[in-house]
């Protein structure tokens, strides 16, 4: 870096650190998706089918996620029911 560069744009984060932040987020996201068991999509579909027997919901109204911590796995199921 020369004397002329010294005066300009100090506060902006470098493009490399932006790249690192973006990569860490997308790579972490893709890794959790990769580690999900193969049965998850089918299980989600079957859960939707069961709920539909009683309440009319769209397939995007059920969010399903599996989180693994060191000691246990948590299956998180989030169903949005329509307004009465």
């Amino acid at each position: 870096m020369g004397i002329f560069d010294y005066f300009k744009s100090k506060a902006e984060p470098s493009s490399a650190s932006v790249a690192k932040d973006r990569l860490q987020i997308i790579v972490a996201h893709e890794r959790t998706k990769r580690q999900q068991p193969d049965y998850l999509p089918q299980m989600q579909q079957e859960i939707i089918d069961v709920i539909r027997k009683y309440v009319q919901i769209g397939s995007e109204d059920v969010q399903i996620q599996l989180d693994n911590t060191d000691e246990c796995s948590v299956l998180e199921l989030n169903v949005t029911l329509p307004d009465q």
């Binding site: 020369g2 490399a16 790249a19 690192k20 997308i26 790579v27 890794r31 990769r34």
Partner: protein
Amino acid sequence: MAKIIVVTSGKGGVGKTTSSAAIGTGIAMKGHKTVIIDFDVGLRNLDLIMGCERRVVYDFVNVINKEATLSQTLIKDKRTKDLFILPASQTRDKDALTIEGVQEVLEALSKEFDYIICDSPAGIEKGAQMALYFADAAIVVTNPEVSSVRDSDRILGILQSKSKRAEEGKEPIEEHLLLTRYHPERVALGEMLSVSDVEDILAIPLLGVIPESEAVLKASNQGTPVILETESEAGLAYTDAVDRLMGEEKPFRFLEVQKKGFIKRLLGG
């Protein structure tokens, strides 16, 4: 039993073939009998990088289809003792490689060679999966650039789930990161991901860092593996990487900006 090493990356153009040629040559120079296999069916290029393109008679697919024997097909390198090349086929038939066929050829080579280097095609399709399926170790070639790092992570996922070792629940494939086309100057300016940035994201052990170097293009122009350019930084960095692959401890070189004079620094030259 030979050790099978795949050179892979996901993304194209990051230096897989250059690295396969350099590392295969480096291992053979240490006295281990080595064969480099070009898995890029349809887009053969290892022969050009190794400078043996005019000596190709038969290819990998001919061997699989029993149209030629291995000894008819293997090309003996003229510069390096103990080094052989198995060229890819130029066929456009995507299904020319079968898992059984590849296995048979690798088993036959395993009896004669100490190291088998598999130069993978780009992508994550069948060709790339075939190249990594039987591997004992993987060299993941990555450029310090977002799309290459992301693709490398995807390839790591495939190594950990779709390889023979993964499917049979054996000890996982040894993973090595090879960072290529590295510009210390641009890293210092904050314009390029640093070695430690890429190590943080991919979280696999670092095998080597190859600086961007004019010697790489020059060597490929002439059909010489760049590791033989012992005057160049890239050649020396590959030599270090091979030493580390063989278990030696080597300090990393060419990671820092070379010191410039005070006046030059002041003017930003």
